[in-house]
C-alpha cells in the first residue's frame, strides 16, 4: 500500500529525515516510536502533504502512485487520513457541516453521489457511539473550545466517519487519560480490516497495550534504526532510548 524508499527531507536546510524507508501493507498496524525531534511528525506531515518541507531525495509510492506529486486534498480523497497532533479550531463551522463537506468531496472524487442527509445522520449516530462522543460536541464548531481529550476524540471520530485506507495517528495518545486512551484504541481496533492500514506514532508503550501493532519501528535521528514486533516496545520502555545509541 505504502512504500517509502530512502526518503530525505529537510526544512530550512536542516535535514530531518535522513534516508528513511518503510513498507506498509493492507491489514497491518505499524507503530513508530522514538524520542522527541527525531522526525516522527515530519514523516506524518510528508505523507499527508504538508508543503513546508523540502523532499531532497527518495520516493513515496502509495497504491502504485507517486504520492509526492499529489495535492493534500487528493491524497485525502484517495484514502489517506492524518489524525493531527494539534488539531486546529475552525470557528463557526460545526463538526457536522465540516464532516459532511469533507465526506461529499471525497465521494465526488470517487465518482459517487453526495450522501443523503438520512444516511449521513445514521452514520453519525453509529460512529458517535463507537467513540463515545456526544451530540453536544458534534454540534459545536470544529475543535473550538475543546479540551485536549475532546480534540483527540474528535480526530478519531472523523477517522471513523471517513473510513480511510491508510490512517496515520500522530501522537493521538499524548495528553489522554486512560479512559480516553481506551476509546481511541477501540476506535482503531473496530475500524481495522484486512483492506486498511494504520501508522500509529507514539511516545509510550501504554497505547500499544490496547492497539496491538504488527510492527514496531524505532525512528532515531531521521532514520528507522530498529524494527521488530510488539516486544520491541516493551524493550524500549524498559531500557529507554539511550539504549539505541549503542
Amino acid at each position: 500500500m505504502l512504500s517509502i524508499k530512502n526518503l530525505k527531507v529537510s526544512i530550512n536546510e536542516k535535514e530531518i529525515l535522513k534516508g528513511l524507508s518503510l513498507e506498509v501493507n493492507a491489514g497491518e498496524i505499524h507503530a513508530i516510536m522514538g524520542p522527541n525531534g527525531t522526525g516522527k511528525s515530519t514523516l506524518a506531515s510528508i505523507i499527508a502533504g504538508r508543503d513546508i518541507f523540502n523532499v531532497d531525495s527518495g520516493e513515496v509510492i502509495y497504491k502504485g502512485k507517486n504520492l509526492l506529486e499529489m495535492a493534500p486534498e487528493v491524497r485525502a480523497c484517495d484514502g489517506i487520513f492524518l489524525g493531527f497532533q494539534y488539531p486546529v479550531e475552525i470557528p463557526g463551522v460545526s463538526i457536522t457541516n465540516f464532516l459532511r463537506t469533507a465526506m461529499n468531496e471525497q465521494r465526488k472524487y470517487r465518482g459517487l453521489e453526495p450522501i443523503t442527509a438520512k444516511e449521513f445522520f445514521a452514520k453519525m449516530e453509529e460512529k458517535k457511539k463507537l467513540v463515545e462522543i456526544h451530540s453536544k460536541l458534534t454540534n459545536r464548531s470544529v475543535n473550538e473550545g475543546f479540551s485536549g481529550g475532546e480534540k483527540k476524540k474528535n480526530e478519531i471520530f472523523q477517522m471513523a466517519m471517513l473510513e480511510p485506507e491508510l490512517a496515520i495517528l500522530d501522537e493521538t495518545d499524548s495528553g489522554l487519560d486512560i479512559d480516553a486512551l481506551k476509546i481511541v484504541a477501540k476506535g482503531v481496533n473496530s475500524l481495522r480490516t484486512e483492506n486498511n492500514a494504520f501508522i500509529v506514532i507514539t511516545h509510550y508503550q501504554r497505547l500499544l497495550d490496547y492497539i496491538v501493532p504488527d510492527f514496531v519501528h524505532v525512528l532515531y535521528e531521521g532514520k528507522i534504526v530498529k524494527t521488530g514486533g510488539k516486544e520491541l516496545a516493551f524493550e524500549l520502555e524498559e531500557k529507554g532510548y539511550e539504549w539505541l545509541k549503542n
Partner: protein, 482 residues
C-alpha cells in the same frame, strides 16, 4: 440547514460573476446629462404630482452647490455626471395587467437571476417587486397583500395611488440635503419600492425587491420607502445584480424606513452588483444612503447586509432611535476581493430613553482590496440609560489587502453604556491544511472557513437569502488562494 449549507459549497465551482449577461430588450432612454429639463422629463414620464417635481428641483439646486464627499477611505476617479443617462426603461406600450404582458426577454432575465415572477413564488412565500434599470417591471402578490391593507408597489404607483402617504414621509428620514448622493438621488430617482403596513398587521410573507441594471451608460437611482404603522411587522429583502461592462456604472439609492410605536422592520440586503474584472476594470460605484427612524416607543429596526459586489461601496445603513425603549441592530458582512473597495458601516443615533443598539460587522478582504468599517454611535443627552454594543471583526486573506476600522463614539450622558470590541485575524495555513487533509480543496476550504466566520450575521438573514448569501461569499473569494 446543514444539508443546504453543504450543497451550496458543492455547487460553488465557477469563479466568474454569474449575473454578467445583458438582456436584449428595447429600452427607452433619456439623453445623457443632468439639468432641470431632464428632471422635468423624468417627472413628466412618471406623471408625478407637483410636490414631487418640487422636491426634485430643490434637491437638484442643492446638489449643484454640494461637493462629492472625500472623507471615505476610497480611491475614486472623478465621475462625469454629465456623461450618464439618468433614465432608462424597458419599452412598454401600456400598463401591464398581467404577467403575460411582460416582455418574455425580461421574464427570462429574471429566471436567469433565479427570481421567478410566476406564481410559483407563492410556494416560497415571497412577494417580489422587480426593478430593471429605472422602472419597476412587476410587483407580485399586491392583491393578496391588499386584502390585509398592506400596500406593496412601485414608488411610481404609490405616487399615483397614495400621494398623501408619500408626501408625508418622503425625505422625512433622509432629507434631500442630507448628502451629495442623497441629493442626486432626490433629484433624479426613477423608481423603487413603496411599502406600507397598517396598524397592528404582521406581514405574513417576506417582501422583496430585486434590482437589476441592464442598459449601458446608465445610472440607477431608486428610492425605497417603508412605513410600518403602530404595532405592525414586516421583513423586507433586497437583492441586486448588473451586467459585466468595462465602464463603471453609478448606483445611488436612498432607502427610508419609518417605524411607528411598537412596530418592527427587518431589512435585509444581499448586494451583488458587478464588482469589476480581476484587474479592477469596470464595476458599479455604489453610493447608498439607508436610514431608518424608530419614531415610536418600543419600535425596532434591524439592518442585515451581505455586501459582496460593486467596485466601490459607500454605504452606512443607520438608525435614529427617537422613540423611548426603541431598538436597532446592524449586522454586516462585507467582502472585498481583487481591486474592490468598501467603506461601510452604520450610524446609531440614540435620542429616546432606554434605547438599545447592537452592531456586528464582519469585514473580509482578499486580493488587492480595501475594506473599511466606519461607524458612529451617538448618545444624545436625552437618551438616558441607553446601550450600545459594537463588535467589528476583520479577516484578511493574503498580504496585499487592507482592513481598516474607524469607530466614532459620542456619548453625551453618564447613564448610558457604550462598548466596542474589534479583532483582526487571518485564515491560517494550519486551518487550510486541516481542511485539505479531510479532502476539501483550498477554494472550498476558504468558503467553509469564511462562512463560519460570518455565521453570526448570516443567521440573521431570512432563509431564502441565507442560502444565496453563503453561495456568494464563497464565489466572491474564489481565486483568492495564493
Amino acid at each position: 440547514m446543514n444539508a443546504k449549507k453543504n450543497s451550496i459549497i458543492d455547487e460553488v465551482t465557477q469563479g466568474e460573476y454569474k449575473y454578467g449577461f445583458v438582456t436584449d430588450i428595447e429600452t427607452e432612454v433619456a439623453p445623457k446629462g443632468l439639468n432641470e429639463d431632464i428632471i422635468r422629463f423624468i417627472s413628466t414620464k412618471k406623471e408625478e404630482p407637483e410636490f414631487m417635481l418640487d422636491f426634485r428641483l430643490k434637491a437638484f439646486a442643492r446638489w449643484q452647490k454640494m461637493k462629492m464627499p472625500d472623507w471615505a477611505h476610497l480611491n475614486i476617479p472623478a465621475i462625469d455626471f454629465q456623461d450618464i443617462i439618468y433614465y432608462a426603461a424597458p419599452k412598454k406600450k401600456k400598463e401591464l395587467e398581467s404577467l403575460d404582458e411582460v416582455d418574455p426577454e425580461l421574464l427570462k432575465t429574471f429566471e436567469k437571476l433565479g427570481i421567478s415572477l410566476e406564481e410559483q413564488k407563492r410556494l416560497s412565500g415571497v412577494a417580489v417587486d422587480a426593478i430593471i434599470d429605472s422602472v419597476s417591471v412587476k410587483t407580485t402578490f399586491s392583491d393578496t397583500l391588499a386584502e390585509l391593507g398592506i400596500i406593496f408597489c412601485s414608488f411610481s404607483e404609490a405616487l399615483r395611488n397614495h400621494p398623501d402617504l408619500v408626501k408625508k414621509y418622503v425625505g422625512s428620514v433622509v432629507p434631500y440635503s442630507d448628502n451629495y448622493f442623497a441629493a442626486l438621488n432626490s433629484a433624479v430617482f426613477s423608481d423603487g419600492s413603496f411599502c406600507y403596513i397598517p396598524k397592528g398587521v404582521k406581514c405574513p410573507i417576506e417582501l422583496s425587491t430585486y434590482f437589476r441594471i441592464n442598459a449601458a451608460n446608465t445610472g440607477q437611482f431608486e428610492r425605497t420607502l417603508i412605513i410600518a404603522d403602530e404595532g405592525s411587522y414586516v421583513s423586507y429583502m433586497e437583492g441586486c445584480t448588473a451586467p459585466m461592462r468595462d465602464e463603471n456604472q453609478l448606483h445611488a439609492a436612498v432607502v427610508e424606513i419609518i417605524a411607528l410605536k411598537d412596530a418592527e422592520v427587518k431589512y435585509s440586503t444581499v448586494q451583488n452588483w458587478y464588482p469589476g474584472s480581476k484587474e479592477g476594470k469596470g464595476g458599479i460605484y455604489n453610493f447608498v444612503t439607508k436610514r431608518g427612524i424608530c419614531k415610536g416607543a418600543n419600535s425596532k429596526i434591524s439592518w442585515t447586509q451581505v455586501e459582496t459586489g460593486s467596485a466601490v461601496t459607500w454605504k452606512y445603513p443607520s438608525c435614529i432611535l427617537a422613540g423611548d425603549n426603541s431598538v436597532s441592530e446592524f449586522y454586516s458582512v462585507a467582502v472585498t476581493n481583487n481591486h474592490q473597495q468598501a467603506d461601510t458601516g452604520t450610524k446609531m443615533i440614540h435620542i429616546g430613553k432606554n434605547t438599545k443598539s447592537t452592531i456586528i460587522s464582519k469585514g473580509i478582504s482578499a486580493g488587492f482590496s480595501n475594506n473599511t468599517y466606519r461607524g458612529l454611535v451617538r448618545i444624545a443627552k436625552s437618551a438616558i440609560n441607553s446601550r450600545n454594543y459594537s463588535q467589528c471583526d476583520s479577516l484578511l486573506l493574503g498580504d496585499k489587502c487592507g482592513a481598516h476600522t474607524f469607530p466614532y463614539i459620542n456619548a453625551l450622558n453618564r447613564s448610558s453604556i457604550v462598548e466596542h470590541e474589534a479583532t483582526t485575524s487571518k485564515i491560517s495555513e494550519d486551518q487550510l491544511f486541516y481542511c485539505n487533509q479531510r479532502g476539501i480543496d483550498p477554494e472550498n476550504a476558504i468558503g467553509l472557513i469564511v462562512n463560519g466566520y460570518a455565521k453570526e450575521v448570516l443567521n440573521k438573514l431570512p432563509m431564502e437569502f441565507a442560502v444565496e448569501a453563503q453561495k456568494l461569499l464563497s464565489i466572491s473569494l474564489e481565486g483568492s488562494v495564493g
